[in-house]
Amino acid sequence: MNPPMARVFIIDDDPRVRRALGRLFRSAGRETEAFASARDFLARLPYDGSGCVVLDVNMPEMTGPQLHELMAQQGIGLSIVFLTGQGDVPTGVQAMKRGAVDFLTKPVDDETLLRAVEEAIARHAATNARRKAREAVAARLALLSERERQVMHHVIRGRLNKQIAAELQIALKTVKVHRGRVMEKMACASVAELVQACQLAGVEITQ
């Protein structure tokens, strides 16, 4: 069930806590990397695989929530589980609003922590998959010529070839050729598939 690539990043300024958490995640079959500060972690990026960050709140220089904000700004999609020795409600609420998977207080039971970490990894994996699909569609969209793109826009809105020819003032036969190329380049077997791909890529569909 655990995808082998998923990795747990531990960020905590306390070396003994880092070591203990590392052991715990390894005992649950996870790979880990540990960092003493937010800066060390940022220096290690980019990271391509799936995984999650187990993040301490109270740290010198850059605090956990500050790192969280920075990751959001830079589009670093790793899910975050906060682990704090000093859980105050406002910090917790803020973290959850920003999209943290959980906000746990030390000392934390292994079941709770591991469940949160698994969820975070799953969430990241899902996000990752969506992102990858979107990127693939975007790459295909980029292959279309201007005319093909115009034709595609009409197709996904449910227009008939005849209507498209009239709208674009081109021959019906030409529309058919463009339409065939669009389906080929976008690797879609049906109009339904094409609509789905465009939705994923955020192409505007409604009129």
Binding site: R16, A20, S27, N58, Q86, P107, V108
Partner: protein, 727 residues
């Protein structure tokens, strides 16, 4: 209650009776030759001590003042010799006492011609003038010591930052010898203490020089029998004059100087030398041969401090060593009634002496009954009317009577104390310190003790001893002042310190929870990882060993936090021990570790190793904790990247210095002087006691605390200076 007292007086009178009758036939003659005149304070002190020690009617006591300080030279000595020869031609002198060196030298030169074969006791002579010298047979000495080293020690104890001593002495031979001793004592006495000698200057010049002294100096006033203008001076007068104008404290070895305004010193007690001389004279009168060149070792030089002078020169009273005798010390209730009590005591004393005399006379007239009634009535009136507890003790250490306040204070019913041994009132552990029943007759003095009540409970007391000289025998009047109130005050101070510590702990409770949750989290994660490894069979033995090792260490870490907490929450006892200042700082920073991170304060330290001081750990941690907490408060309004804290521990010449420097908002210049006052605060929720308590704790260790604005940038530096613990 008074029967015992009165019968005692009667017994005394009875014992003295036959002696009085034989007196004319058996009278022995003691002649004292004093080197100096009678108005130098050492001379009457010695005279009084000697007379007290020799008390008894069968001695004819003469004293002559050679006054060689004002009449130096051989011709004067010859004139004096002629005078003495003629004056004492018709008498047999049994023992000759020469007080101080000049008189002894004179006697040694003239003894053959003036008083051949008469035993000689040289009293109060300098040790050097006797050492390595064989004195003629029949001559012995009681040396004296002028303890400049202990006086310097006292000065540095009271002024730990002093860096200069001005040694002042006159031009008489005596002055020069003392001055040389003082100079040798001061040379290299302590690193960083420069010494300078001022002599050959008239008193007015000394006054001017003293006025120019910087604040980190002090004066060692040695002796000025004669100044540079050849003017003969009296100790009390120049000591008072210099004390009046000097901006810095004056120390010295003469008790009379301290009484007239100098700060204190290791005192050469001439009364004590007189009493020691009396025992040697008594032995000589009894025909015992002189024991050699030194009869009695140098009597002790007690530390004595003038309490009013402390105030005058702004020396914190906490720095006064516990063993020092204090003059003019004022203490709450006692202070308010002091004059009244002393006056009353004096009245009782006089009355007691009168009664004793009366009893003697009446006894001679065989009317003891009348005398007893008279004595009983007068004493009952006088002592019973006293508002404080008074008991009277005889030479056997038995309480001959006690007034109702004494019975009440000590928990005995009316009349319950009379007839009991004094020992009953002194807890066993203090008996040796008290020195036994005879000790109460040594001198009129004041000391602190604990008294044991009838039910075995103890109360802190201060006692005032007054020996009553009846002329025949001695009784001691002991006034007992209950000090419970003062001890209660000390207890409240401790309570306040404790409350403040607890309040501070409350402020950082969240951080402390964090500090504890770290090791607890590590322990839990480690243990559960171990269990999982075991369950899955994946972990090897080495891994499990490492896990258990970490669990043990994290548990210890949690234990340390708990220990530190417990230490801060502890109440009461404030015993001092040698303490490493760096360790104190480290412990406090460990306690505040999470708080400092939470407040995003950058901490740097420079902690010199081996900076030891004598203090209580909890109290010192409270001081440092308080200073750091204040720094955090001061930095809160500042941007996070401009908050830094620097703590330094360094060793001075005789001090240990702890500095806490912050980049906070600072303190307005006109407020700097007030920060240590009670109730000074900038915080809406603060009590304003933190720094006041810091100062009282630091002062109690003989140290100092001060605050200065940082030279560069914002913020302030608090500096705690403590005396170095040596050895």
């Amino acid at each position: 209650m008074l029967r015992a007292a009165v019968s005692l007086l009667l017994v005394l009178a009875g014992a003295a009776g036959p002696a009085l009758a034989q007196a004319p036939a058996a009278a022995r003659t003691v002649l004292v030759l004093s080197s100096e005149r009678s108005d130098l304070p050492s001379v009457p002190d010695f005279d009084r001590g000697l007379r007290q020690g020799l008390a008894g009617p069968d001695i004819d006591y003469f004293i002559e003042y050679l006054d060689f300080g004002r009449f130096p030279g051989g011709a004067q000595a010859q004139a004096m010799a002629r005078y003495l020869r003629e004056r004492y031609a018709g008498r047999t002198v049994d023992v000759l006492v020469a007080f101080q060196e000049s008189a002894l030298e004179f006697v040694l030169a003239q003894r053959g011609a003036l008083f051949p074969g008469v035993p000689v006791v040289g009293a109060g002579v300098e040790r050097q003038s006797v050492d390595g010298r064989t004195l003629p047979s029949g001559v012995t000495t009681i040396p004296v010591i002028y303890d400049y080293r202990r006086t310097l020690e006292l000065a540095l104890r009271l002024q730990p930052k002093a860096s200069e001593v001005l040694i002042v002495h006159g031009v008489a031979d005596y002055d020069r010898r003392r001055g040389e001793e003082a100079r040798q004592a001061a040379a290299g006495f302590a690193p960083g203490l420069a010494s300078r000698v001022l002599t050959g200057v008239p008193l007015a010049g000394v006054e001017e020089a003293v006025q120019r002294l910087p604040g980190n100096a002090f004066v060692l006033l040695v002796s000025m029998v004669r100044d540079a203008e050849g003017k003969a001076l009296v100790g009390q007068d120049y000591a008072a004059r210099l004390s009046a104008v000097s901006p810095v404290p004056i120390y010295g070895t003469f008790g009379s100087h301290v009484e007239r305004g100098t700060l204190g010193g290791a005192i050469t007690d001439f009364g004590e030398i007189g009493r020691a001389t009396a025992t040697v004279v008594a032995a000589a009168l009894a025909g015992k041969p002189a024991p050699g060149s030194i009869a009695v070792e140098v009597p002790e030089t007690p530390l004595r401090v003038n309490w009013r002078a402390l105030e005058k020169w702004n020396i914190p009273p906490q720095r006064v060593p516990a063993e020092a005798q204090t003059l003019f010390r004022e203490l709450g209730v006692w202070e308010a009634h002091r004059d009244f009590v002393l006056a009353t005591l004096a009245a009782v004393l006089v009355q007691a002496a009168l009664i004793a005399g009366l009893v003697v006379q009446l006894r001679r007239r065989q009317s003891a009954e009348a005398a007893a009634r008279q004595a009983e009535a007068t004493l009952r009136l006088a002592v019973d009317a006293l508002p404080i507890a008074v008991i009277m003790v005889n030479q056997g250490g038995v309480i001959v009577f006690a007034n109702p306040p004494a019975d009440k204070l000590l928990g005995y019913g009316e009349g319950g104390l009379a007839g009991r041994p004094l020992d009953r009132l002194i807890p066993e552990r203090l008996r040796s310190a008290f020195g036994g029943p005879g000790d109460v007759f040594m001198t009129a003095s004041k000391r602190e003790l604990a008294a044991r009540r009838k039910d075995g409970s103890e109360i802190p007391v201060e006692i005032v001893l007054n020996p009553i000289e009846s002329g025949i025998q001695r009784l001691a009047l002991v006034a007992i002042v209950d000090q419970s109130a003062r001890h209660e005050l000390q207890r409240k101070q401790q309570e306040l310190e404790h409350i403040t510590r607890v309040a501070t702990m409350g402020q950082i409770a969240a951080s402390l929870a964090h500090e504890l949750s770290q090791p607890l989290a590590a322990i839990l994660a480690n243990s559960q990882a171990g269990l999982r490894f075991l369950k899955s069979g994946k972990g090897d033995l080495e891994e499990l060993r490492a896990i258990l090792q970490d669990v043990v260490e994290d548990d210890k870490r949690a234990g340390e936090v708990v220990d530190a907490l417990r230490s801060m929450l502890r109440r009461g006892k404030t015993e001092s021990a040698r303490l490493d200042a760096a360790l104190v700082v480290r412990d406090v920073l460990a306690l505040l570790h999470s708080e400092l991170i939470a407040q995003q304060v950058e901490v740097t330290t420079a902690l010199a190793p081996g900076c030891l001081t004598l203090a209580n750990k909890t109290q010192m941690e409270q001081v440092v904790l308080n200073l750091v907490m204040n720094a955090l408060d001061a930095m809160r309004p500042r941007p996070a990247d401009e908050r830094w804290l620097h703590i330094e521990v360094a060793r001075g010449e005789r001090t240990v210095r702890i500095e806490v420097r912050d980049s906070g908002v600072g303190i307005p210049p006109d407020e700097l002087g007030k920060v240590f006052d009670a109730f000074w605060t900038t915080k809406s929720s603060g009590m304003g006691m933190g720094l006041a308590i810091c100062r009282s704790i630091v002062g109690g260790c003989g140290g100092d605390i001060e605050v200065t604005p940082n030279r560069q940038g914002p913020g302030v530096t608090f500096a705690v200076t403590l005396p170095c613990a040596t050895g």
